[in-house]
């Protein structure tokens, strides 16, 4: 199977949005869009909602339980020591510690999960359709599952600058 894809080139994200809406309405599969920036509407147009927040909530609950257990173990069971006449296990200071630990752990895990899921890592060789994808051009890459002529028509109709057909190498690797 050839790796040729129809690519619509845009210089305006509003026109791109029109094209994306058109194509999704006609059930034409969009492979991806590459561009220097994005907008919420564009993201909503054909991607699923990320599940990251659920992970964050799970991690938060886990951290709170784990850290609570640790604090309780160290301050009551392992070495009970009274400070300043406060109870061995006093909840108010614990709230503060649990709060910060939760934020730290959730933040860290989210970033790691994001990097893992999107397969970004330092030194990765990016698969750029064109260097201008990070400057001022948007590239709408289509899957090969529809009548190419119709797709081209819709893309042109939405106001694309040009349409190119190009093979895309999806290999990733180290960049140095």
């Amino acid at each position: 199977m050839s790796n040729k894809h129809i690519i619509g080139v845009f210089d305006d994200d509003q026109k791109l949005l029109t094209a994306v809406k058109n194509l999704t309405q006609h059930k034409a599969n969009i492979k991806d869009v590459y561009g220097p920036s994005t907008s919420h509407e564009l993201i909503k147009a054909f991607t699923r909602e990320s599940l990251l927040p659920f992970l964050a909530v799970l991690v938060a609950i886990g951290t709170i339980i784990g850290a609570f257990g640790f604090l309780y173990y160290t301050s009551v069971i392992d070495y009970p020591l009274r400070y300043g006449g406060k109870p061995l296990f006093s909840f108010p200071p614990m709230v503060v510690i649990l709060f910060f630990l939760t934020i730290l752990v959730v933040g860290g895990v989210s970033v790691i999960a994001f990097l893992g899921r999107t397969q970004l890592f330092p030194g990765k060789q990016p698969v750029m359709i064109d260097p201008r994808a990070s400057d001022d051009r948007f590239y709408l890459v289509m899957d090969q599952n529809f009548n190419p002529e119709e797709i081209k028509l819709w893309i042109i109709e939405a106001g694309a600058l040009e349409i190119v057909e190009k093979e895309i190498d999806t290999q990733t690797g180290w960049g140095f």
């Binding site: 990251l52 200071p93 614990m94 510690i97 934020i103 933040g107 890592f121 001022d136 960049g175």
Partner: protein
């Protein structure tokens, strides 16, 4: 976005994306200008002075500081609180942008966050050196050590360590993750092989895919959501260092929100100072417009009111409490007496001077904006000085009363942190776009589009 009769333009001029890239990357390209080299040199000298002071503090001991038995917290903690406060603005801008969807914050976000990162680094130095033996700093972490002890979780100083390190890590993360797309832009533009490799490594192989953007947006919102309570709580913890004690002037329930308001206030002032300078040297006046300064001036105006109100409440409730020590600290030590000069500098700079921003003229003139923003940070320094030293120097027991003078070592460390901050900021403006390009691009059209093509149907 439906435009209304209000002017909503955020970026001046009709620019296409390519132009925006060119203009905003200008500072990272070409040879470094002379002022930059001079600045680095100056910052380096200050840093060297600070290095000497830190070396002296560690090798000779903390006796070289101006601390006494009564005033055990002096310039070190004052400067620590001051820098932390300044740091808060960056995160606040991020929250404005990500959580409250204030789109105007997009073009200030990046530099404000850079300021946060360096300010928190400067702040973190002080408690570290104050430990006396900074290489043993890990003792404060709870780990199964040879002494079989765990740390005291009830201690606000332990919370401090946790809060500051969490804050530093989170703000670096937010800053870095936010700039990845821009680093990719530089990577794809540059012809220089070394630059390409280095930016290539740091841009993590970013390819601008919409699927990546989707997760990226979720991640940024999540981090912004986490940063919102974090930024409030960090300065709260700093405030708790004082407030949980029994000292008059320190023990006040309003201290956490009051410190937080002060932090936002001083941080915004610092952002204003820096943005005015950056606007002078870089060609970014289309992105950071007078409207941005106007918005910041409004925040400062209201911040000043909150601070002024807090001063008044503290004074009033000190009298209302009927506790003679409270009354002494507030009325005899602060408002009149040994610390009255510092107290009135604080009141004038923080509560009175920023009120000029009620006048449109003051908000539109760069000079007045600059002067007020600097004065605010002077005032905020004095605020911390008044809070810290007046309560310690004249406490319950008149026989232990003392005065407080900083030594050259104290001053050296403070100057050194300025050097660190200057060098850090200069490196930042040299190697990283000072305005978040990928965030500014979509908002550059707001307020200019044709109403007809733009109607959204719910």
């Amino acid at each position: 976005m439906i435009s209304t009769s209000l002017d909503q333009t955020l970026v001046k001029g009709h620019k296409n994306y390519g132009q925006i890239t060119d203009e905003l990357l200008a500072n990272t390209e070409g040879r470094p200008p002379l002022w930059w080299l001079v600045g680095i040199g100056l910052g380096g000298l200050m840093l060297a002075f600070g290095g000497w002071a830190m070396y002296t503090s560690v090798t000779v001991g903390l006796g070289t500081w101006g601390l006494t038995n009564s005033v055990a917290w002096g310039w070190d903690i004052i400067n620590f609180v001051w820098w932390i406060g300044i740091g808060h603005a960056g995160t606040a801008f991020t929250i404005f942008f990500l959580v409250f969807r204030q789109k105007w914050a997009a073009s200030i976000n990046r530099s404000a966050e850079a300021m946060t990162v360096f300010a928190v680094m400067c702040a973190g130095l002080f408690p570290l050196i104050h430990m006396g033996r900074p290489w043993l700093a890990f003792f404060i972490m709870p780990y199964p050590n040879t002494r079989l002890l765990w740390v005291n979780y009830n201690s606000p100083l332990f919370w401090d360590v946790l809060a500051i390190s969490t804050y530093l890590i989170m703000s670096i993360t937010l800053w870095y993750i936010g700039m990845v797309p821009d680093l990719a832009t530089i990577r794809d533009r540059t012809k220089n092989k070394l630059r390409k490799t280095i930016y290539g490594i740091f841009s993590l192989g970013w390819d601008g895919s919409l699927y990546t953007y989707n997760r990226y947006e979720t991640l940024m919102k999540l981090l912004g959501g986490l940063a919102a309570p974090l930024v409030i709580s960090v300065h709260t913890i700093v405030a708790l260092d004082f407030a949980v004690s029994v000292l008059p002037g320190w023990h006040a329930t309003i201290l956490p929100p009051y410190f937080f308001a002060g932090a936002i206030f001083s941080g915004f002032a610092m952002v204003l100072t820096l943005m005015i300078l950056m606007r002078k040297v870089f060609n970014i006046s289309d992105y950071v417009t007078l409207k941005h300064f106007d918005n910041i001036a409004h925040v400062l105006k209201y911040g000043s009111l909150v601070i002024g109100l807090a001063y008044a409440i503290e004074l009033f409730l000190a009298w209302y409490s009927g506790v003679e020590y409270e009354i002494y600290t507030f009325f005899n030590a602060r408002a009149s007496g040994s610390f009255s000069t510092a107290f009135w500098i604080m009141v004038v700079c923080n509560a009175i001077v920023p009120q000029v921003f009620w006048f449109k003229k003051a908000r539109k003139s760069l000079l007045s904006l600059f002067i007020v923003s600097v004065l605010i940070n002077v005032g905020m320094w004095y605020e911390r000085f008044v809070i810290l030293v007046s309560s310690l120097a004249e406490d319950f027991l008149p026989s232990s009363w003392t005065s407080y003078q900083p030594t050259i070592v104290d001053i050296g460390i403070y100057v050194g942190t300025f050097g660190l901050f200057i060098v850090g900021m200069l490196l930042f403006v040299r190697f990283i776009p000072v305005i978040a390009i990928n965030e500014v691009k979509p908002i550059s059209r707001i307020g200019k589009e044709n109403k007809k093509t733009e109607k959204h149907v719910e």
